[in-house]
């Protein structure tokens, strides 16, 4: 269950080493156990320098892939998880849990309590999930509310002390480092015995509960025979409960209007104390029917101090909020494009913003453009070979808008214009970016009156909603486009 060592490495393309070890921590008591358990297959934890080099090579971050290198490019070296074997000093260090996020590589080596040859299946190594959770926790801590490098450096400098609390001997006690930080602050308070370990202290002040529902909608639209358009809503319910007492109980109910789309694939925060079996079993895997559970979805829980994600869900709404088609044709030296977008009448026509990004890959800079649009303005980024159609806050009354025109490109130069392995030839997409406040596509809302709080004082309850687009693609219907298996289910 324990970790032998962990590292944070910033990925710095263009520098000689391509990266720097920003933080590392070794756990010698665990290492001693590893030597005993792994027996002849034991490989010691390397020093930071060799580890950095081996990891960047394995993650293909050394940008030297000009030549075929067997130890990296061989077809038989298939990695299907973020868990690697690193060649260090002629021996293979395994398992190394590692992932790259925001130019930072998070890595650790979990203890395997047996010999490594043959390798045990990853599922049987308890330290793997523990390692992931620790790394995710560090990532959350470093990037929650972090805006610039100075803040990042401050947080990095806090890590040694925090890990002394959260993971003193290599066995993770709390992956939420914010708790460890608060722990030091709350240390003087004498805690009652039933204080949860994930709640370092108690809140003092005006009671209030804030619930915000954020829905992201993604879509793949093809406008083609034999290929179905797909779309999906992913919701996140975030709560912040400022309530007195060590273990206040709260129940939040999410409700749907009569014609709302049922919530599916619900995952809850560990502080939720019980779950209705209907919530547990409602899943997008099954074919939808009218008997699907449509709420209210009750979540009883004991809140932690900080803001947390109470639950995630997905939903299959009957129509996409914006339906569109995109046609692009190569005509000798120029491209002819036609775009049509239609907002569904049931959707709130009041955007914070709405834009369509129309990128052109694997071509030179835009040299000439002629266009006609029924609505909004078009911005041209010539060097980036990108058009942005700014639609604004509202669709016109007809709910339908269009753009057509011709684009001419200059000679291609690989450094400046984007390469894309998918958008080759006439394969192309446009991507919609929009946000609507105080609205959810499923209709899901947290009824303020149904929020039950068992704590002293009547809390102020506030609720927020918003809909954001995410991966909302409309593909050129005149060319092949990448499909998912789901698109073939007509």
């Amino acid at each position: 269950m324990a970790q032998r060592a962990l590292w944070l490495i910033s990925h710095e393309p263009g520098t000689p080493l391509r990266g720097t070890v920003r933080f590392s921590r070794r756990y010698p008591t665990v290492e001693k156990r590893a030597r005993v358990f792994n027996r002849a297959s034991y490989v010691p934890i390397p020093e930071d320098g060799p580890f950095l080099k081996a990891l960047l090579f394995e993650l293909r971050l050394l940008d030297d892939d000009k030549d075929f290198v067997e130890s990296r490019d061989s077809c038989s070296r298939i990695n299907k998880t973020s868990i690697y074997g690193l060649l260090v000093g002629g021996e293979e260090l395994w398992p190394v849990v590692a992932f790259l996020k925001n130019d930072m590589i998070y890595a650790c080596v979990p203890l395997v309590e047996q010999t490594l040859s043959p390798r045990p299946p990853l599922i049987s190594v308890s330290g793997v999930s523990q390692g992931f959770e620790l790394l995710y926790g560090i990532q959350d801590f470093l990037y929650s509310g972090q805006k610039n490098d100075n803040e990042l450096n401050t947080k990095l400098s806090q890590l040694p002390d925090l890990l002394l609390q959260a993971c003193p001997f290599g066995t993770v006690l709390d992956a939420n480092l914010q708790n460890s930080l608060d722990n030091t602050n709350f240390a003087s308070v004498t805690q009652p015995q039933k204080q949860p370990a994930w709640k370092p202290g108690t809140y003092k002040g005006k009671p209030q509960v804030s619930i915000s529902i954020t829905e992201k909608v993604k879509s793949m639209q093809y406008d083609k025979q034999g290929v179905a358009d797909t779309w999906q809503v992913v919701g996140t319910v975030t709560c912040k409960c400022d309530l007195e007492g060590s273990m206040p109980n709260v129940t939040i109910s999410l409700s749907l209007p009569t014609n709302g789309s049922p919530l599916q694939d619900i995952l809850v925060h560990p502080c939720v104390t019980s779950l209705d079996s209907a919530i547990l079993t409602s899943s997008s895997i099954d074919a939808m029917d009218d008997s699907a559970f449509s709420g209210p979805y009750k979540f009883p829980f004991t809140p932690p101090l900080e803001s947390f994600n109470l639950c995630y869900y997905t939903s299959q709404v009957p129509v996409p909020p914006i339906l569109g088609f995109y046609q692009m044709k190569e005509e000798e030296v120029q491209l002819r494009i036609t775009i049509n977008l239609k907002l569904h009448e049931s959707v709130k026509n009041n955007f914070e913003f709405c834009e369509a990004h129309i990128p052109f890959f694997n071509r030179g800079p835009i040299t000439h453009l002629e266009y006609k649009t029924s609505f909004g303005q078009l911005e041209v980024f010539r060097e980036k070979s990108l058009l942005i159609w700014i639609i604004g806050q509202k669709f016109p009354k007809s709910m339908e808008i269009s753009l057509s025109g011709t684009v001419t490109f200059g000679a291609k130069s690989h450094e400046k214009q984007p390469f894309d392995p998918i958008c080759v030839g006439e394969t192309a997409y446009l991507k919609l970016h929009f946000r609507i406040l105080d609205y959810t596509l499923t209709g899901c809302y947290a009824d303020q009156h149904s929020v039950q709080v068992f704590a002293s004082g009547k809390p102020k309850i506030s609720a927020y909603r918003k809909l954001i687009s995410s991966d909302y693609y409309i593909w050129n219907s005149k060319a092949p486009a990448p499909v998912t298996y789901g698109s073939l289910l007509l």
Partner: protein, 879 residues
Amino acid sequence: MGPLSRDVWAQRLGAFRASPSAFMAGPEAEDLGRDLLGDLRSEKLSEQTKVSLLALSLEYPAQLWPDASAAEVAATSLLDTLVLLPPRPSALRRPLLLAATTALAVGGALGPTSGASCRLLPLLLGLAAGSDLGRGFVPASEQRPLQATACECLRELESCKPGLLGGSLGLLRGLLGQEGPVQPLSLLLSLALRNTLVLQSRAGAGLGALLTARVSPTGGGPWDWTLVEEGDGRLQPQAPSWPVAEEGEGEPSLTAREHSPEEARELRAAVAQLLDTSYLLTPVAQAQLLWLLGWALRGLQGQPPALFKPQLVRLLGTAQLTLLHAVLALKAAFGEALFTAQDETLLLRRLTLAAQHPALPLSTHLFYLHCLLSFPENCPLGPEGEEAAPLLLRPQLCRGLLPSLLHEPMALLARLHLLCLLCAEDEEEEEKSQLPSPGHYLEELLAGLWQRAALEGGPRALATLCFQASYLVARCLAGQPTVLTPLIHGLAQLYRARPMLAPHFVDLLDHVDPELREPLKVVLRQEVVSRPGRDEALCWHLQMLARVADGDAQSATLNFLRAVAAHCTSWDLQQGLLQVCRALLRAGVGGGLVDLLQVLARQLEDPDGCDHARLYYILLAHLAGPKLGVALGPSLAAPALASSLVAENQGFVAALMVQEAPALIRLSVGSHEVKGPLPVLQLLPEALEPIYSLELRFRVEGQLYAPLGAVHVPYLCPGRPARPLLLPLQPRCPAPTRLDVHALYTTSTGLTCHVHLPPLFVNFADLFLPFPKPPEGAGLGFFEELWDSCLPEGAESRVWCPLGPQGLEGLVSRHLEPFVVVAQPPTSYYVAIHLPPDSKLLLRLEAALAEGVPVALRTDDWAVLPLVGDYLRGLAAAV
């Protein structure tokens, strides 16, 4: 030396962390550990600096205090520092406790004879119990954090020395029920409980008593090391890997000892107590608790796993990786006893859902996908340890888990594996559903991957991904022609579009099974040879051809080579061309290749290329096929990445030079037979492995004999008796000698070996030759004539020849039969022996007694007298 300043320490710690090994090799290494301990008590250093010193000792105790005695001294010093802290809040207490614990555990000093251990353990237990240790040892504000820290230290010590806390189970239980901090105590108790269960099943200690004993933490009695000693200090896996636990290897069976009903009740109560408060633990700690308790109770009689049931619904709803993983561990530990078929379905559905939930990060998806394919099923069907789709995972469930070109490489490969497994099943069942055929989808996906890899200027990662996918498909669906045919076709097209991927193709050919390799080779060879002429991709074509060229389609290949030879103007192209020739040589292509090599040897401008062509030509002209194959085959001696030239040289060294080798043959001397005018040694060779072209060379010590010719044997096979070899000897004087023997032979792998065999001995009797036979009846006269001719130059002597049980008659017929001239059995024999080159030896054996016979002898060479004496005296002993 006084304490170092803060800056000096910062610099020193920085240098150490940059490279501990380099620092430890330097001049400052020796003092580091001592300085650190000393300066912890310095009043000039800030607490912050001291914390950073302690942090270093937490990470590198093995470097600072490399042996048990140094660790003991360090731990003692750290404990002293702790005791000497003034009674006000300090940031040093926690790290000091952690450092002392680490030093003892890592240094191997923890044990009943260690003074520091005997101080630390009661101190930790006292702190964990929250007792007042007196003299303001713990300021009130630090009580709680130190209590937790002490628990952590004890847990670590228990991990390193299982059984250490066996005697404190009752105390810990009591603390958990009262005011103690829930998480540290729960984790400590569950670990101690688990270890006790494992150890006491062997030791037989009473569990019930341990669970209920309420010893005082500061009771002052000596620490109880009994259980540790029972366990031989062997580490216990806290969360054993599943297959190992299944086999019971290294994991003592917990069922070995039955618990009394009372003990079982007490144990159940303790576990229930731990589980009931588990929601107060952080998710990672909850997961640890479940792993520990699950594997502790597994197989324990009278402990139904239903205890875990109330936790499951809560856990299944979460998105936490550790919790879902712990549920899977419970599933593996208890199977059907805890998860009914419906529960299993639900768990599988939650796992499927989590493996694709858009709210979770990619690395979590991938881990869940792995868990799906390694799912611990109630009724597994397939072979253990291999990834497979669980039986309940129907295609309907998986449709959201299938790959698309938009996925990241790792996700694509993981999902592709699942798709392949579905295709394999689809093939078996031919289930007609309304879902699109997975096989068809797979084909389209691969086409997309090839298209992407074919893009000019695309990154190598895309090509690698494409070949990994092709390899995965080939491996999973090897037996399916419906998949392999389009695969071969698609790969050929990819090569046509982008020959620079040749190294990837070569790598793929090296890894796939012959089912794909052979047809793919044919197709790729056609791709290459159908396009002779000047081509920018010529170097790739040659690299490809060097891998796919073999005995088939020789003329097309040779035509291609002849056509491109003129364009091979640079060194690397010429080398590429020669590599293909080399491959053809290995494959045993003869005819047309000879001409080509001759042309190349003349035509190539580069001297290196020229030399190689000539070398290959000479090899082809002089070596037999198998030998050529070995000479040009991959060399085992050369590391894989060495250049082809080095590999080639190494190969030649191995194949064309004579190797010193251990003897694969044995040689012995057979019975003495008299034939012809010269003495002949009969040799019996025996081979341990098949060997070819054996040549035996002999050398006579001194100049006693004329030089001996070599003996040749074309083939020797173990177990098949070989014809005896006859080695004629030409003595220059009649004396025994020793032959030095060397053997030279070729092994079945084509290597030529040389070996020095043990020497062979030529005995005096081996030289005996008969005189020409006198006419019937003239024997006596002939003998007397010889007898008289010996003197006066020669010598005469009498020797007593002992007789064995066979008597004189037996002795003569056995040893001297061919040389007898006159015989009057059984009493009198006259023997005449010709000793080459030109000596004679005459013996009269007459008037034998029971125990021996007097022998009168004459010879014309007095030098042989001692040899004759030894010979005759030894006859009776010789069988």
